[in-house]
């Protein structure tokens, strides 16, 4: 499987109120296409900083970061924005939908910043993704009218709309109850099974057990990097509409 991202000897230092913090101390990580990585570690271990760097929201102080073959560690702000809009999909703990937009409009946002001309095709695609996450009946609802689980499903649909090479999930079930968490994890697993690469930050072992690989961090370093065999899931139901997920050939 080809590499999606490669991190070599990554350091991140910053100062908080004139106290120097060395958040990442030489992290090495390679993620291949189709991987499902759970990033674990206690708070302060550097996992959030690593996720920010992976998400091109932050630049490493030292070391290299290749994403889809491109070295993004030295890119300008605008170039990073472009990388985010083309290669990455984000799922947040807080869902982070825009309250003034409907479900479909929220899913559309990444397309706007890709410079894609919004038309009937793109609209159909967004509706298709809303149906994929089971919200086909709530296209015109606002986030405030949806439950937490539903909002997170909109967020998942939004993270898929630009056909990203990598989906970054930051505690995607952190605000959800067990049952809803399970639904979300089934959805992520199905996406992974269909070929999507996912890196997920979590501190819950239950949630991490859905992944295929668990990376544990401590004090800014990778403590362990072990493969994991998830419980087999029941993939019954209609197959995922692949044309919505992959680039057209």
């Amino acid at each position: 499987m080809p590499e999606v991202l490669r991190i070599e000897n990554l350091h991140k230092r910053y100062s908080v109120e004139s106290t120097a913090v060395h958040a990442l101390k030489g992290v090495n990580l390679v993620v291949h296409q189709g991987d499902f990585v759970a990033l674990m570690g206690p708070s302060g271990s550097g996992k959030s900083t690593l996720l920010n760097v992976l998400g091109c929201l932050d630049r490493p102080t030292e070391g290299s970061y290749h994403l889809g073959g491109e070295d993004v560690s030295k890119m300008t702000d605008d170039q990073l924005s472009s990388i985010r809009s083309r290669y990455l999909g984000f799922i947040f703990q807080q869902y982070n939908l825009l309250p003034q937009y409907t479900v479909v409009e929220n899913i559309e946002i990444p397309l706007i910043y890709q410079g894609v001309r919004l038309n009937a095709d793109s609209r159909d695609r967004c509706i298709g993704l809303a149906e994929l996450v089971g919200l086909g009946q709530r296209l015109d609802h606002r986030p405030m009218q949806l439950s937490g689980g539903q909002q997170q499903r909109v967020a998942i649909a939004r993270s898929l709309v630009n056909r990203p090479q990598l989906i970054l999930a930051d505690e995607p079930t952190g605000n959800l109850d067990t049952k809803t968490s399970h639904e979300i994890m089934v959805m992520l697993s199905r996406l992974n099974a269909s070929g999507k690469t996912i890196v997920m930050v979590t501190h819950e072992n239950d949630i991490a057990s859905w992944s295929r690989r668990i990376v544990r961090m401590r004090d800014g370093e990778v403590e362990s990097d072990l493969p994991n065999t998830p419980e087999p899931i029941d993939f019954s139901g209609p197959p995922l509409p692949m044309h919505l997920l992959e680039e057209a050939a």
């Binding site: 929201l57 702000d77 985010r84 825009l98 003034q100 890709q114 001309r117």
Partner: protein, 456 residues
Amino acid sequence: MDIFSITLVSSLVILLVFLATTDKGRRGLQLALRSLWLHKLRSFLSMLGIIIGTSAVIILMAFGEGSERDVLEDIKRLGTTNIIIRSVKPTDDANTNRRQMVATYGLTYQDLEILKTIPSITRLVPMRIFPQETRRGARAHNSRVVATVPRYAEVNELTLLDGRFIVEEDDERMNNVCVLGLETAKTLFPFEEALGSSVKLGEFVYVVVGLLAERMPTGGTGGSQAAEDFNQDIYIPLQTARGRFGERITMRAAGSRSAEKVEMHQITVTIEDVDKVRPTGEIVRAILSDPERHPRQDWALTVPLDRLELVERTKANIRQSLGIYASISLLVGGIGIMNVMLATVTERTREVGIRRALGARRSDITFQFLIETMVQTGIGGLLGVGFGVSYVFAHAALKALPMAAMLFQDGSPSPILHLPSITWSLSTAVGVGVIFGIYPALRAAYMDPIEALRHV
């Protein structure tokens, strides 16, 4: 239109076309309208400064236009190629020992003869003007007697309702004929046919040969140019007046008597060409200033053309001060909007973070907030223009309201819509949006996306 407003308007048009036709522009516009609609009261309040500023500009400019038109019409009525010379009672008469029973002053027939020698003067209309009671049977009217020559009609562009004006023959033969102003005729002949009837003026009886249509009074502008109400006039031939009344006129008013000896009250001089008006005015002034001819300052010269220049200067002054008022109010409005936008940016920090994470560039964020401010000031400007324009049209109706007399002076000018002021104020309002929107927009764009995402 000057180059300044053309630039403003064309940039406004380009902006609008961009917003309407490009995908990004339409999105931005839609988003801006939506977030303004989400906070209706807040948006309205922050727009208020702009609304007041633009409507003030429109209304003040309209009043400026109105008063300018009034003055211009006044000047036109006086004639731009005319010079008006009047006899003025010298001020020292009232409080010196030389006080006489009969005040003697003013222009003379000799002056008239000298003026006739100036080649650039094509027409001279001498006048004697004095109040006198006119009688018709038991009815009396306090008229203003104007003794003049036939050419008076040309200079003042008189419209006759009936009959004719004074002719040369009347003047030569000292005919006892008269032409009545509208009010004079109405008072003396409420029920009868005036034309052909006779009225009594002083000791003699005059035949009415003509009736004048209503004439707009000229506004008094101080100095030698007093307001004139032509409708109270009675016109008689100059030589007739000289023969019947003599040089000495006695006026009775409310029990007191006064007499004056004035050969000529006014001479209206017409110059052949507008360019020669001012030089000729100087010549006339020089002639009359000769101390042998007029030892005292008992005359005054009015050149309507000078007033035209004065109007131009006043207009420039009005424009300038309006510009200052408008800038101040728009500045205040702009600061208000900037304040609200800064609060909005803080409030929407998280939104900025989300958008940045989803691929928005800094320029996208800047654009989004800038468009929002511009839409806000643009809508404010439109509302202001709407209010200002409707006020201009509603002014007449407002003035007619019973309480309005307390606010509006009699004879105050009516506003006339000044079209360029609409485009100026509108483009300036949008410009204010750009200037005061840039800082909040950049502040939003340069937030750290990670910090912004953490913002609650």
